[in-house]
């Protein structure tokens, strides 16, 4: 997906580097940089939001802050 304001935001302060988002993204959008998740493959993202709902620390928002579709 490459809509204009599409974004996968990770709040670095909130992230505890558990690796769950990296491991279970069906499209391998994240990669690990010393356990820190980084978005490396945003175009592959399907906006399934599994990473967002599985993050134990509420650190991920898929679709940019204002995106409100569920």
């Amino acid at each position: 997906m490459s809509e204009k304001n599409f974004e996968i935001k990770i709040n670095e302060k909130a992230c505890k580097r558990c690796g769950i988002c990296i491991a279970f993204c069906p499209k391998k959008v994240f990669s690990s940089e010393n356990d820190k998740p980084v978005v490396v493959n945003p175009d592959a993202c399907t906006k399934c939001k599994l990473c967002e709902i599985r993050c134990p620390d509420f650190a991920i928002v898929v679709g940019g802050d204002d995106d409100d579709d569920k």
């Binding site: 690796g19 990296i22 709902i53 134990p56």
Partner: protein, 272 residues
């Protein structure tokens, strides 16, 4: 955090104290999303907990909340519901809180069918007090208090709830979050006592004691060992060992306690 969900949290209390990869944050997020999906009035909700890592959840949630004593969340919640039947009362509790010290409150709340939704954060251990076994610790698992493996058999919480009289009973996991959110929505909409057992992960104690590896490995175990209620029906008994059955087990309409209680008050006052 998603902006539209911020109103449900006490943002100033975050980050939460839970360890990296602790499943309790995932369940808390699922409860919030279920409430948001149903567009419930957040000022008409009261969230009650006991004591434990799991029971810390309401402290982060911007609703009417009550953090009570160990095992007693349901006793407090019963009082709240009877005093204010207009409130949606939600209990967030741990496997220890709910089934050990709070076990009796639990079966009787089920029996009464009082309109409360109980979400059990089941990480199979006492997380907060550093890893003692609970009545939900599987047979053979290790814990601080079971250095040679647990010889006690664990409850099947959903069977216990159903046999005790709960009228909505389901199980989810922190891996299967979309399904979990749906189940919590159903539980919140159900009139009567609803129970959602949620398999959580405690990498720090249960994981470490049982050499299960990282939070990711523990999530993989939930993924690989879970089967749906439907699939379980067709599966031979031998293959069911160590399987986690997820989905809805039971749903029925039955007289609800606060309504029955109001009727008694009316009768006693001669208003029949």
């Amino acid at each position: 955090m998603r902006k539209s969900l911020e109103k449900y949290y006490r943002i100033d209390k975050l980050p939460h104290i839970w360890c990296p990869g602790c499943g309790h944050g995932i369940i808390t997020g699922a409860v919030v999303r279920a409430i948001d999906n149903l567009k419930l009035d957040k000022d008409k909700i009261c969230i009650v907990s006991g004591i434990g890592c799991s029971s810390r959840a309401p402290g982060y949630l911007n609703f009417n909340t009550l953090h009570t004593t160990h095992g007693r969340a349901l006793a407090f919640a019963t009082g709240i519901k009877l005093a204010r039947p207009d409130l949606k009362v939600i209990v967030l509790t741990g496997d220890g809180d709910c089934t050990a010290i709070g076990g009796n409150h639990f079966i009787h709340a089920c029996r009464r069918n009082i309109d409360i939704t109980t979400v059990v954060f089941n990480n199979s251990i006492y997380g907060m007090t550093s890893g003692q076994y609970s009545p939900m610790t599987p047979l053979g698992a290790y814990a601080t208090t079971a250095p040679y493996g647990n010889i006690d058999r664990n409850f099947d919480l959903c069977k216990l709830a159903q046999a005790s009289g709960a009228t909505y009973v389901a199980r989810g996991t922190v891996y299967h979050v979309p399904q979990l959110i749906k189940i919590i929505e159903k539980a919140l909409q159900h009139k009567g006592f609803s129970v959602v057992e949620t398999l959580s992960i405690c990498p720090t104690y249960f994981g470490r004691k049982n050499k299960l590896g990282s939070p990711v490995k523990m999530m993989e175990m939930l993924r690989d060992n879970s089967i749906t209620v439907k699939a379980a029906e067709k599966m031979p008994r031998e293959e069911m060992v160590n399987k986690i059955v997820i989905g809805e087990f039971f749903e029925e309409n039955a007289p609800e306690y606060t309504e029955e209680y109001m009727k008694i008050i009316q009768r006693a006052q001669g208003e029949e």
